[in-house]
Every structure is written in structure tokens, then in C-alpha cells.
């Protein structure tokens, strides 16, 4: 299938899933049931930033889905493909918001789920100073745990902030990768839709540090593509939904590097099958230059380890 059709199909799937979940949630809890993510002043940050509207109830989310629907136009032009990617992102946020509105504890350790405003504020300064030179979103499943660990630790040693989504979380744990905000490795969740929580980080960074007006979508996209040095590594077979979410990343200016054979788009969607080169490929694609020279000592050494307490057993 052609790339654009894959994207459109993924978006339609995301929309359908969100609609179904919402209808069910409304039936159980009523339209006035409250919707919110914990510890944020930005309501549903992606929807708020894109539309300027705060979502307070399940009923409000119906309006949000109308916006999502309006972003899907199957005309084969990049503009529509990117909008469709954004639609997927917004649909994912609706799905995640319903989880938070209706479930007791939607995310449990090791998964972080939604990232709170205070954490974003704490990450803001090192991001601005380049102390955190980039944000890696590692998604899917690597061929084995070692490969996953190698890639993640490489980012860690270079001081990048890495978010994990999907099976790669288990692989990282299996290979003994240590994870925490301080260590700059944050597992988000197992569902693809949980990737929205890192998008939400990028978008709140734009709102908080870029002083952008909610609703100024083009300003927002310009800010993220120019100022938020994020990129995505998508490993393993790619579903339509993942490709479609990838288009959302590209719309925000974040290149996607995958180990799968895809229709490549220069600088934006790249295939790198050599796992030893994934990191270098990704950094070049996002034009990230590492400030700190790597120190050739056996233990990965970088700012990411500043927060690590050396336990006696180690």
C-alpha cells in the first residue's frame, strides 16, 4: 500500500478506536464525567495547544474527535498526510485521557504514563542549555534485549532523554538498563497510544518555554521542529497505526528512523537496518551534535548518571 494510504488508514483506525472508547465511557459515566491528566495546567496538552480548547468532561471529548475527523482528508498531498498524523496524535490523547478519567490506576511501575508539569519544568533548563542534547523516543520491539539495551545506553551515555514505548520496555529491563527521570530513561507504556505522553512533553515545552498561544497550530509546529530536538526510533513490524503516529512526529519536525523497509523520505523517514548505526543515523537526522566528548571508560559516563546513587551491591 502506498505510504499516504497507510497513514490515512492508521488515522482512521485511531479515530474509530477513540470513538468506540468514548461512547462506552460516556455510557458508563455520563457526559459530565470529569476528564483531566494529573498535575498539569494544560488540560489535554496536545488538544489544548492545537485548538486552544480545554477539555473538562467526556462530553467535551466528542468535540475533540470532530476536530480529529476534520484533519483526515485522503487527498494524496503531504499536507494532508501530516495533518492525518496529527489527527492520530490527538485521537491517542483522547484515548489516554479516557483511561485517566475512567481507570483507577491507568499506569503502574515501571510505566510512567502521563508526565507532570513539574518534571517538564525540571527538564526545561537542561534542554535549553543543551545539557540534554536531544530527546529519543524508542518504540516497538528490538530483535533482542541486548540490541535494545545497546541503543538505549548509547543515548543515555550521550546525555539524551529517552522515552520507551512498547515491548522495548521489557527488553530494557531484561538487559538491566536502569530507568528513571534522573537517569533520563523514561518508560511510558505498552500501548502505542502512550507515545502521546512524550508528544505532550514536547508540546508543553513549547507552551511553557516558547510562550506560544494555545490554538496557534502552525506556530507550535514551527517551535517543535526548530527547538525541540526530538526524534523517533521505531523498531519491529510497523502497524498502520504506528506509521500514522510517525507522520504525527514528522509533522512536529521529528524524524523517524526505523529498522523496517519503508518508503523513505529524506531527512524525515529513514531505514537503518544496522543497529550499530541507529544512534549515529538518528543524531545526524535530527542534527544533534553531542557537546560532551565521550570518555573512553568501561562504564557509560554522562550527565544521565548524575542522579544515580551507587548502591553497595554494585
Amino acid at each position: 500500500m502506498n505510504l499516504y494510504n497507510i497513514i490515512f488508514t492508521g488515522s482512521e483506525q485511531a479515530l474509530a478506536a477513540a470513538k468506540g472508547m468514548l461512547a462506552e465511557a460516556i455510557e458508563k459515566n455520563g457526559r459530565d464525567h470529569k476528564v483531566a491528566f494529573p498535575d498539569t495546567a494544560y488540560s489535554l496538552p496536545c488538544i489544548y495547544a492545537a485548538t486552544g480548547q480545554k477539555m473538562n468532561t467526556l462530553g467535551d471529548l466528542e468535540g475533540a474527535l470532530t476536530v480529529v475527523e476534520s484533519l483526515i482528508n485522503r487527498t494524496h498531498l503531504l499536507e494532508h498526510a501530516l495533518n492525518s498524523g496529527l489527527a492520530t496524535a490527538l485521537a491517542a490523547e483522547v484515548i489516554e485521557a479516557i483511561k485517566y478519567a475512567t481507570m483507577e490506576e491507568p499506569y503502574q511501575a515501571p510505566c510512567a504514563g502521563h508526565v507532570s508539569d513539574p518534571i517538564i519544568r525540571s527538564l526545561g533548563v537542561p534542554l535549553v542549555t543543551g545539557d540534554i542534547p536531544g530527546v529519543a523516543v524508542v518504540l516497538g520491539e528490538c530483535p533482542d534485549a541486548e540490541t535494545a539495551a545497546k541503543v538505549i545506553k548509547d543515548y543515555q551515555s550521550k546525555g539524551l532523554l529517552t522515552f520507551l514505548v512498547g515491548k522495548v520496555i521489557d527488553q530494557a529491563i531484561e538487559a538491566g538498563v536502569k530507568m528513571s527521570v534522573e537517569l533520563r530513561v523514561i518508560p511510558l507504556g505498552y500501548d502505542v497510544t502512550s507515545v502521546i505522553h512524550v508528544v505532550s512533553v514536547a508540546i508543553r515545552a513549547a507552551l511553557i518555554f516558547g510562550g506560544l498561544t494555545p490554538g496557534d497550530l502552525s506556530g507550535l509546529l514551527e517551535y517543535t521542529s526548530k527547538r525541540v530536538p526530538a526524534f523517533v526510533n521505531a523498531f519491529g513490524p510497523l502497524s498502520e497505526l504506528v506509521v500514522s503516529a510517525g507522520a504525527g512526529a514528522i509533522a512536529l519536525g521529528f524524524p523517524v528512523i526505523t529498522d523496517q523497509t519503508v518508503l523513505e523520505v529524506p531527512m524525515n523517514l529513514l531505514t537503518q537496518k544496522d543497529y550499530d548505526k541507529v544512534v549515529a543515523t538518528s543524531l545526524e537526522a535530527r542534527n544533534i551534535k553531542i557537546k560532551i566528548t565521550e570518555i573512553p571508560i568501561p562504564v557509560a559516563f554522562a550527565a544521565a548518571f548524575e542522579g544515580e546513587r551507587i548502591r553497595k551491591a554494585d
Binding site: M1, L77, V265, A285
Partner: protein
């Protein structure tokens, strides 16, 4: 009709008023003079090939005296147009090849792009190891000159085409042999009492046209690059506003760079610049017109004064000291227009003498001395300028030009991830086409035609295409139109769709790329052929097209025919004289599809034509994307086996 309705160029409007005031007749007046053109000629079924004629086909006289029917007559006329166009391009190329044979280390003509010469020498099995570059050049020139009349074999460049394309040519028997031979064969076969079969005439036309695109024009372009330098990206300006008030304005018009290169050099000669100052001018201002203008703007950034339809109007400004011309597309009317002003109309080529002009022969053997003399003549003429009669219109546009295939590769390297791909390939372009970020690429080429409104079709079609994420490459007077209307600036990205605009941003190019002169349409063949080879496809598989919105010359007919024969669908904005034969239309606009995988489509409404091209590209994409998927699966399977 109001003359101003005949061109959308605002400078032209101003000068048409002035021409009227000055009592000067222009092309636009003459066009109005021809209230209605002869229907027989328009349909192509008038024949004057022998002394029994002229014959014309009507319901009452369905055959000429010899018995030729409308199909034969239309076919012969069409074939002769192709031969005329091929002859023009090829004689141009022949001169360049001769110039290369004359090149020497301390002569007027040097080898500028040694690398390109070596590549060509290797392609042609000319020994390069340990040899002097000029010895190589001379031998390569001789090989090229043989391409015009070699007794055996087929054209050498054909093997550069994708293999499936070569096979189609071979199977159809349209591999061109020697250029001059193909032209002569057409003249022979169209003689009275020779070929009496339109299928055969069109078949022959394709072979001859291929001798243009894949031989003559290709030699012209490659050799010009080797001798004068391969174009690189540079800034320039276009339209008549580039003429300057207090400088000696020289317009270079015509086609062959052997002359124009020397004029460029001479116009920078300190002695001549000093002389210009003595004459009271601030210096010498050189500007180009038509394809010679394209050649010097690509290589030196010389400003473009205007296109085919502006040649008379340039003189009407009263600010042109000399209009220096060589061959092709030069209105004989210029002699009369120049008479009304102080302008010297200087013809230089024994192949194109024009009554009423100042003839100053230019010869490659004495190139610089000749160029010097000609420019001096222009400079000395400054004193005769009548300030009262000067009106330089103010409009001009900035343009970024110089996109040779090599320069395009250079730009594409900007988006190559060094950990994935090597530099110097067309892969980024192929990727953009495969993924659909670019829907396609279209070459917008050709002339201006008095049948339509000057520049309207070019500009309308280019704008529509880029808006729909289709990259436009252009040559000839199409390129001049794009430059004049600001489509070659990087800011023109905002007129492009998001996909094309993104590509332009990343690759740092304007949405419309200037590839050069008419012979440089061969660069388009190089890029399309290269992309097809990279994708393991034929040229006819790619979502690309060619369009000549305002074509007029026989050269354009030859170009259109070789583009189709190369597997690229070709769209015309002016109906060629073939409608007199239903069979001709059937073949050209239909059956060619089965033969060469492409055909002609004609529509005289530019807005409609643009929509047709866009729809056809989308249709083509379905086929293209299926092939892409097939190739990808093959690769995955091969990978799994490995």
C-alpha cells in the same frame, strides 16, 4: 483584440505602447494582420512537396495529384518538422564538437570540466591513461563528429538509457544510427513518390527525433559543459528591466555558446570597458535572450533580458546598442525594428545571414578577436543612443539558476544521511517520488507562440503543478518565463504545496529548476533515465511528464517526439498541424502508448491542461507505486534468503 491582451508580461505592455508611438511594427501587429490562418495548413493537409502541387485535401479532392491521401500528407509534413528540428539542434551540436576539436591549452577554447571529459572518454572507449587532456579532447571530438555520419552501428549514447528502454527502441527498430543520415532519410522518404504510409512516417520521425535528444542535443550539452564549465547554482535577474540606463547594453540572442562565451569574455575586457567609459557610459551590460541567454545565465549568471516574444521589444526600449545573434529563433523582422533606433543588429553566422543586418562573421578559429570586434562595435555605438527615445521598463525578477544534473546531485547530497547512503546519487529524488512527498516531476519546456497569450500558459501550468507537489524543471523560453515571473526564487516555495515546499526547504532549491537551453532538455533525459535506472524501472514507469505549453518551433516538435519516444508523456498547449489526418491523431495521441509507453495529449486551455497533467500523474502513480512495492518485496525476500 487589444495587443495587451496578447501577453501577460507587463514590461511588454509598456513597450507595445512605445512601439505604437514610435511607429514600429511588432510580432503582435503582424499576428493581428493574419486575421484567420489557412485551415489546410493548420490541419497539415496541404502539400507542396513537388511541382505538380500545391495540393490540398478537401471532401471533393480527397487525394493529391500523385494520389497521396490526407494521412500521407500530414505524416510527411510532420516528419519534415521533426527533421527540421533535429537538424537545427544537431548542427548546433556539430559546431560545439568542432570547437572542442579546436580546443588547446593556450587557445580561445579550453577544457573546463576535465572530469566530465574523462567520463565521456571512458564511455566511448577513448584511452585516457597517461594522455594529455587535449589529446583526449580531440579524439573525443572526432568520435562525436562521427556520430553525425558514421556508416555503421547505432548511436553511442543510447546505451546510457535504462535497459528496458533500449530494448523497446531495438524491438521497434527506432534506434537512431547517424544523425545526418536520419535527417536525410526523412527528406528522402518524404519526397514525392516515396513513403506512402503514415505509420512508417511517424516511426521514422521517432527515430530521427531520438537522434536529436539522445545524440545531437546530448552532445551539445555535454560538450558545452566540458568546454565552458558545467553549470553551478547562481543568482541572476530576468526581464527587460535588467537593461541599464547608463551602460552599453548588449543583447545576446540565439543559441550557440561558442559565440556567447567569447562575447562574455570580451565584454569584461578592460580595454573595452575603458572604451565604454570614454564613450560616456558607466560600463558594459550584457543580457541574454532565448537559448543563448539560457546558456550564459546558467554558466555565468548573465541576466536574462527576455524570451522569444520579447526580442523586438528589447530594441524598442531604445537602450540597446547591439543585438548580437547567431542562429535559430531570430526574427528577420529585427532588421526593420533596429532601423528605427540606433541599435546595431549584428548577425555573425554564415548559417543565418539576415538581410538588412550588419554581418560580422564569427569564426571559432579567431574567436576572441572576432568577439572583441563585435563588442567594440556595440560600445562605439553608445554615442548614437537617443536619450529621448529610451524607455527601460522597470520590472525584473530575481532568479536562482544553474541546475545542471550535477548541480542537482550536489543539492540532493544535503539530505543524504551519511550513515545510510553514499553521496552523489539520485536516491533522495527517487525516495521523494516513491513516498509521494513529491507527486511527480514535470519538464515545462518550449517557446512562446503567437497563437496564445505570451507566457500565460507557461506560468499558469507551472503554478498549478507546483501547488500540487509536482516539481517543475524547465528549459528554453519556458525557463525565461519562470524566471521573469519569480518562480525561480526560493521564496516561490510559498506557492508550492507542502510536500514540494518541504523538499525545496531541505534541498535548498526553488520549486522550478532552470536546467538550461533547449539542447539541455537532454539533461532532463539524463535525470529521468538515471532515476529509472536507480529504481530498476523504465522511464515510462515514473510519474513524470513533459509539457510544451507555448511551443512553436520545429525544434519543439523534435523535442516532444523524442521525449515521447523516451517513454515520457508529452502535453502540448498548441495543436500541431496533424488534425487533418485522423490516423495521425490516433497514433500520436493513442497508439504510441502501446509502442513506447507514452503519448501526446493536446489541450489549448492551460488551466485544463494543467489539471489533465496532474490527474494523469496521479494515475501513473498507481502503476508506479505497485512497481515500487514489487521491488521492495523482492528486496525483502532476497534479504530473508541471505
Amino acid at each position: 483584440m487589444d495587443k495587451k491582451m496578447m501577453t501577460i508580461d507587463l514590461n511588454s505592455h509598456v513597450l507595445l505602447d512605445k512601439a505604437e508611438k514610435d511607429g514600429v511594427e511588432t510580432m503582435y501587429d503582424r499576428k493581428q494582420g493574419f486575421k484567420s490562418q489557412c485551415g489546410f495548413g493548420l490541419q497539415g493537409n496541404c502539400c507542396r512537396i513537388c511541382g505538380m502541387g500545391p495540393c490540398r485535401i478537401t471532401p471533393k479532392t480527397p487525394r493529391g495529384i500523385c494520389g497521396a491521401d490526407e494521412h500521407v500528407i500530414v505524416g510527411r509534413n510532420f516528419a519534415r518538422m521533426v527533421a527540421g528540428g533535429t537538424a537545427a539542434h544537431s548542427d548546433h551540436a556539430r559546431d560545439i564538437a568542432h570547437t572542442m576539436a579546436l580546443s588547446s591549452r593556450d587557445g580561445n577554447y579550453k577544457i573546463r570540466d576535465e572530469e566530465k571529459l574523462i567520463i565521456l572518454a571512458k564511455e566511448w572507449d577513448v584511452e585516457t591513461e597517461g594522455r594529455d587532456i587535449y589529446d583526449i579532447a580531440h579524439e573525443v571530438a572526432d568520435v562525436a563528429l562521427m556520430e553525425f555520419g558514421k556508416p555503421h552501428g547505432v548511436a553511442r549514447f543510447l546505451k546510457n538509457a535504462p535497459e528496458p528502454r533500449q530494448k523497446i527502441w531495438k524491438d521497434l527498430g527506432i534506434e537512431p544510427r547517424a544523425i545526418d543520415r536520419e535527417i536525410a532519410t526523412i527528406m528522402h522518404s518524404t519526397h514525392i513518390g516515396c513513403t506512402g504510409d503514415i505509420d512508417s512516417l511517424i516511426h521514422m520521425s521517432l527515430r530521427t527525433a531520438l537522434a536529436d535528444g539522445w545524440v545531437g542535443s546530448m552532445i551539445g550539452t555535454r560538450f558545452s559543459d566540458i568546454l565552458f564549465g558545467t553549470p553551478t547554482v547562481r543568482e541572476t535577474e530576468a526581464n527587460l528591466g535588467v537593461l541599464e540606463d547608463n551602460k552599453v547594453n548588449i543583447i545576446l540572442h540565439g543559441h550557440e555558446p561558442s559565440l556567447s562565451e567569447m562575447i562574455v569574455l570580451a565584454s569584461e575586457d578592460p580595454e573595452l570597458v575603458a572604451l565604454a567609459k570614454e564613450m560616456g557610459a558607466d560600463g558594459i551590460n550584457l543580457a541574454g535572450m532565448c537559448c543563448t541567454g539560457n546558456e550564459v545565465t546558467m554558466r555565468h549568471g548573465v541576466k536574462t533580458a527576455g524570451d522569444f516574444h520579447q526580442q523586438e521589444l528589447a530594441i524598442v526600449t531604445g537602450a540597446v546598442e547591439a543585438m548580437i545573434v547567431d542562429v535559430q529563433c531570430i526574427f528577420p523582422a529585427l532588421a526593420k525594428v533596429a532601423d528605427c533606433y540606433h541599435t546595431k543588429f549584428i548577425t555573425t553566422s554564415p548559417k543565418a545571414k539576415i538581410a538588412g543586418s550588419t554581418y560580422m562573421e564569427f569564426s571559432e578559429e579567431t574567436a576572441y578577436a572576432d568577439g572583441y570586434k563585435i563588442v567594440k562595435e556595440a560600445v562605439l555605438n553608445f554615442k548614437n543612443r537617443d536619450k529621448e527615445k529610451v524607455l527601460i521598463p522597470e520590472l525584473k525578477s530575481k532568479a536562482t539558476v544553474g541546475y545542471s544534473a550535477d548541480a542537482i546531485l550536489g543539492q540532493l547530497d544535503r539530505v543524504v544521511n551519511s550513515h545510510i547512503d553514499p553521496a552523489g546519487t539520485l536516491k533522495p529524488l527517487a525516495d521523494c517520488l516513491k513516498s509521494g512527498v513529491l507527486r511527480g516531476a514535470v519538464g515545462v519546456v518550449g517557446c512562446n507562440n503567437a497563437k496564445g497569450v505570451s507566457n500565460l500558459a507557461h506560468v499558469t501550468i507551472m503554478k498549478e503543478l507546483i501547488k500540487n507537489d509536482i516539481l517543475v524543471v524547465t528549459t528554453g523560453c519556458g525557463a525565461s518565463a519562470a524566471a521573469k515571473f519569480g518562480l525561480m526564487t526560493k521564496e516561490a516555495r510559498k506557492l508550492a504545496g507542502k510536500g514540494l515546499a518541504t523538499v525545496c526547504d531541505l534541498v535548498d532549491i526553488p520549486p522550478v529548476l532552470h536546467l538550461g537551453s533547449c539542447v539541455d532538455c537532454s539533461r532532463i533525459l539524463d535525470v529521468v533515465g538515471g532515476t529509472a535506472k536507480l529504481l530498476d524501472m523504465d522511464m515510462s514507469d515514473l510519474p513524470v511528464a513533459g509539457v510544451a505549453p507555448e511551443w512553436m518551433s520545429e525544434k519543439a516538435v523534435a523535442i516532444g517526439s523524442y521525449v515521447v519516444a523516451s517513454g515520457i508523456d508529452t502535453y502540448l498547449g498548441v495543436m500541431p498541424p496533424v488534425t487533418g489526418s485522423s490516423r495521425a491523431v490516433e497514433i500520436l495521441c493513442g497508439e504510441l502508448q502501446d509502442m513506447v509507453g507514452a503519448k501526446f495529449t493536446v489541450n489549448e486551455n492551460p488551466q485544463e491542461l494543467a489539471q489533465i497533467i496532474i490527474q494523469d500523474i496521479e494515475k501513473k502513480r498507481v502503476h508506479f507505486e505497485n512497481l515500487v512495492e514489487e521491488r521492495m518485496n523482492e528486496k525483502v525476500e532476497a534479504g530473508a534468503e541471505a
